[in-house]
Amino acid sequence: MSEVRRDHSMFDAELSGAILNLQLFVRILKWLKPYRVTLAVSACLILISSTCVVTMEIVISRVLVDYIVSGVTESNMPDLGMIELTQWIHEQTGLDLVLSAGLLFAVLMILFGLTAHFHRLTLVSSIVRALRDLRQDLFAHMETRPSSFYDKVAVGRIMTRITNDVEALYEMLRGMGSLIGEFVPFLVALTIMFSTSVKMTLILLLLVPIVGITTYFFRRASREVFRLVRNSVSALNQNLQENLSGIQVVQLSERQQRNLDVYTQINKNNRRYEFRSINLSTFYGAFNDSLASIGLGLIIWYGGGSAIQDEMTLGGVILFTRFMNMLFTPVVMLGEQLNVLFRAMASGERIFQALDWDEQIHEPVEPANLPDRIAGKLEFRHVNFEYDRGAPILKDVSFTLEPGKKMAIVGPTGSGKSTMIRLLGRFYDFDRGMIFLDDVDLNDIHSSDLRRRIGVVLQDFHIFSGSVIDNIILGNPGITRERAIEAARTVNADSFIERLPQGYDTPLVERGANLSQGQRQLLAFARVLAADPEILILDEATASIDTETELLIQDGLRKLLEGRTSILIAHRLQTIQEADQVLVLHHGVVREFGTHEELLALKGIYYTLHEFQFQDVSLDDDGNPITEESEES
């Protein structure tokens, strides 16, 4: 085992995400790159639309108020050629000056609306497509991680990465897009304002840090409150959910009043924190609204004064009042975007950690060419295996299984039975020269080729959403509907399927919840039989099923095993008795090997397990059962 040991707890750890990670942006660029043309168009459009919105204000203040109404021809305020344009329209159309200005205003307005709309469309479309691609890559990457990965990492953790974390990146990119959409007009307006009156602009800019500082303090104060609110909300939901799941126990124990009291306390806590957060956010929100209006007061007072001293025109004063909002909106928005940004940082880190997780099964460079149909001889040659260094699971396991023979593996809990199965399916990497299929080293066979030839029925047979027939065919183009139905009939699944409302086309809900345990098991048999693998591996389910279904399953299993080399982790006496050989595994060592009768006669571990009806029991080193009794004595 040369492979690097991995610390899977890394995958579960809360990543900091607090620091600005520029590398993250660089990496996201890779997915944005295919849409760079669209993004460039989007950037051009925002420039045009910002210029339009600023120019519209100039038409009002410089052209209408100053030039037309007040008759001012000379002014500090740039007119961006609007006066000439108005004159031109006036001369071309014969309309008077006010109407010409109005027409110009209308044209700018339409141009603004169109460019802003297409700016947003191009921006969203490129972000959505880029993140769709990222999500697809992430999913494909996760889909091909090996079992050793899924053993250690909870599925929920991966799920959040594919759903929530990608969403958080969208929020961030979209937020950055709209921030740019606010800052470009901000800068254009600022340029105009500076050239109109430097002093006035500087005075107004003094208000900007105030917004920044209040935003900073509000974020700091609210972070703790928001955390308390979040925690109390999840405590509320958790309590309710648990109480509902255990409602029968609650009612049988007459705990209703006591539980309501506990819930009331949590509910009160939640209300207290919510009240606190309401106090903070109403104050902050109203404060930000007010600053822009205070700015208006400043403009009238100072701007008015300088207008009278001939430093500014009336139109200039009006222009400033119109630009007030453009000055504050981006700063307030920036404050709001910071939270999104930090969240997205953490999300991005999680996503790229997942994408960088390169754990995988080693595939052969030149895979062996197996014939279409193999005989199915299996050999374990001194197999040693450990998941974690120093904790061997299998020790020197050797056996040969001739084509078409059946072998049952029995052993107490933790003896290494499941590991043997996992090695055979190449779900884990192991050294060369240990396991052979028709005398070919398993390491020389590509895992996808191998898995076509080895049918595995796991204990938790998974049912996919889709119809019954879909679940048997599983997208394999080589299986016809007839063949699938034939397989279901052979393993006794036919009778219950026919009774379903739409027969083979009945949709199965999530994880086959509308089927019983026994029915799901039969369906799993049908699925494997339809695929017709040369070798069959079965981890028999232990769940208690009523005797009648049990007999159907036994019979289905017998047909499934017919003529196939099979390895069975057996829990039922019936299954074991019908096997050609029985291998008794204990602490990873083959302790007994032979037929049912031979092993019973040995009066060893097999005999003890037989006494325990092959339930999952624990045995001590000598093969004696560990129960509460023997622990005490």
Binding site: G102, L121, E143, K268, G297, I300, G304
Partner: protein, 606 residues
């Protein structure tokens, strides 16, 4: 989910809103108070604009060298005054309505919790845990939003046009009349686009949850996927879900962007009218420049409510639907009526009599229990066996009235079970359920769940009796080990033994065990049964099991078939009778020819 959607579209949208009234009533004065404070705030707001335009006129007059009644500094100070006034009132009003919204949702949560605790199995079979959780989280949030933000929107919808229009009319009637035709257009456009928006965002929500469940289902079965070499197929399948979500998202963004583009467009159209027509009036001296600017500012005050009207209507509709869904929980009558007659004794001995006990679940023709007659002596142990669906669990539910037991059919110590107070009945008839449920709390709280004040000694005693001591001693935190979803995961057998301890600790006159040994190995089970026998020699025990090795310990065994008693007697008697029980015994102990057993089992139902 499909059913819920039908409900949403089928019921009239505002029907359920009146049910919200009793919840809002305690806070009505708080809300009325906020409405008047909002009114004052709006007054200040419109005056700020008025003062700004007045200031501009003053500047113009001073530029023309005329004297003005107020200096610019005075006007600026007045602006600061109105802004401060608005700030104070707005903070107060917003805070009041948002606190009211929070308080309403607090009360709704209390009511919901109290209501669901009183419901029985029929209710929970109609409404799953997930469904109730969705109502508790989403529907309550909708109502909170209606009270907290809906009222603010309503205020804006009524107050803003009132103030804006009255000031505009006072400044120029003709200009005001010129721009008013735009508003109905805007209103209908707003309504239309927000309904399209609602459809689009619903689609996005559905696609997103589709995406989540796709990923969850796929990763949940990743071993099967890989074992069947289905990875490439699955990646392709995921592309469809993924791309569909992306496209739905883009569609929503397009409608949103269109809304953002059109609203300012209409606003600008109004501005265009103001600029040209107002420009003329200013030129002719009928209006001042300040008035013109006031119109330009006030137009936003007028547009705001129209922009909001669409979302406001949606908010009311959704909150109403949410209230309707909550009422389904609030209005559900508890299935089990607790009406003790007072005649029942305070302590029971544990003698049961079943007289023609018949029980049917609502909506199902064939009775689950059909004419059962049985006398259980105090101190007797009864084993029950039968196939899935034979009525075992239903029968057990009758003893603790977890089903609405019919009057006159089940008697405990000679009194109808319906005459006992529910709390007494359930404390003296202890039942251990088939599903071993653990609360996310320390083990000791789980075991002494019915009475957390019990001493630790009795908890350990119960753990002993359930053969759980050894397991608990292996945990570092011992009895304080937190179990359940967020704690230590117990194996199936450990959970069963812990729930068994929960039942045993009560030392009740009657103990009912519903298939509690299925995951416990046979030797431990023998050990527990022996302990039970000595502990409960004088008390009644009723247990359900599939295993003959368990049942044989009981004084009498009852075989249920399709809700009727098929066989009744001691282990030996039933073996001699050579019926269903005897067949079961043969299959389980000898592992003999299964064909033989199957035929035997199929003979009896008839």
């Amino acid at each position: 989910m499909a059913q819920l959607k039908i409900v949403v579209t089928a019921t009239r949208p505002l029907n359920s809103l009146y049910k919200l009234l009793p919840f809002v009533k305690p806070y009505q004065w708080q809300i009325y108070g906020a409405f008047s404070t909002f009114f004052v705030a709006r007054f200040f707001e419109v005056n700020t604009l008025y003062l700004v335009s007045y200031g501009l006129d003053t500047i113009k007059l001073q530029l023309e060298g005329e004297s003005t009644p107020y200096s610019l500094a005075q006007i600026a100070l007045a602006i600061v005054g109105t802004v401060t006034g608005r700030f104070v009132f707005v903070v107060h009003a917003r805070r009041a309505v948002r606190r009211a919204g929070m308080s309403v949702s607090f009360d709704l949560r209390q009511k919901l919790y109290d209501s669901v605790q009183q419901q029985g199995s029929d209710f929970f079979s109609r409404m799953g845990v997930g469904d109730i959780m969705t109502r508790a989280i989403q529907d309550i949030a909708l109502i909170q939003r209606l009270v907290a933000f809906g009222s603010v929107q309503m205020v804006i919808i009524f107050y803003a046009p009132f103030f804006a229009l009255s000031y505009m009319l006072s400044k120029s009637v003709s200009l005001t009349l010129l721009i008013t035709p735009l508003f109905p257009i805007l209103f209908f456009y707003g309504k239309w686009i927000s309904s399209r928006m609602a459809i689009a965002s619903r689609e996005v929500q559905e696609r997103l949850s589709g995406l989540s469940s796709h990923v969850q289902e796929n990763l949940g079965g990743i071993r099967t996927v890989q074992a069947m070499a289905q990875e490439q197929n699955e990646i392709g399948r995921f592309w469809e879900t993924n791309d569909a979500y992306g496209r739905a998202f883009y569609r929503q963004a397009r409608i949103e962007s269109l809304m953002h583009a059109w609203m300012p467009f209409f606003a600008s159209a109004a501005q265009l009218v103001i600029v040209t027509y107002g420009g003329y009036q200013v030129m002719q001296g009928e209006m001042t420049v300040g008035d013109l600017l006031f119109f330009l500012f006030a137009i936003n005050m007028l547009l705001q409510p129209i922009r909001m009207a669409g979302t406001f209507v949606t908010l009311i509709q959704r909150a109403s639907v949410g209230m309707g869904r909550l009422s389904e929980i609030f209005d559900a009558e508890p299935e089990i009526v607790d009406a003790p007659s007072g005649a029942a004794p305070a302590t029971v001995r544990g003698e049961f009599e079943l007289r023609h006990l018949t029980f049917s679940y609502p909506g199902i023709q064939t009775p689950a229990l059909d004419d059962i007659n049985l006398h259980i002596r105090a101190g007797e142990s009864i084993g029950i066996v039968g196939r899935v669906g034979a009525g075992k669990s239903t029968l057990l539910k009758q003893f603790t009235r977890m089903c609405d037991t019919n009057r006159g059919q089940l008697f405990l110590d000679g009194h109808d079970v319906c005459d006992y107070p529910l709390a007494q009945l359930r404390s003296q008839v202890a039942q251990v359920l088939q599903d071993p449920f653990m609360f996310g709390e320390p083990l000791k709280n789980n075991i002494s769940y019915d009475d957390p004040e019990r001493g630790l000694d009795s908890v350990w005693d119960a753990a002993d009796s359930a053969a759980l001591r050894g397991t608990i001693e292996e945990f570092p935190a011992q009895m304080d080990t937190v179990v359940g979803e967020r704690g230590v995961t117990l194996s199936g057998g450990q959970k069963q033994r812990a729930t068994l301890a929960r039942g045993l600790i009560r030392n009740a006159p009657v103990l009912i065990l519903d298939d509690c040994f299925s995951s416990v190995d046979t030797e431990t089970e023998e050990h527990i049964l022996a302990r039970l026998k000595s502990m409960r020699s004088d008390k009644t025990t009723i247990l359900v099991s599939h295993r003959v090795s368990t049942l044989r310990h009981c004084d009498r065994i009852l075989v249920l078939e399709e809700g009727r008693i098929a066989e009744l007697g001691s282990h030996e008697e039933l073996l001699r009778a050579n019926g269903i029980y005897a067949a079961l015994e043969r299959i389980q102990t000898q592992g003999a020819d299964p064909r033989q057993g199957l035929e035997d089992l199929e003979v009896s139902p008839a």
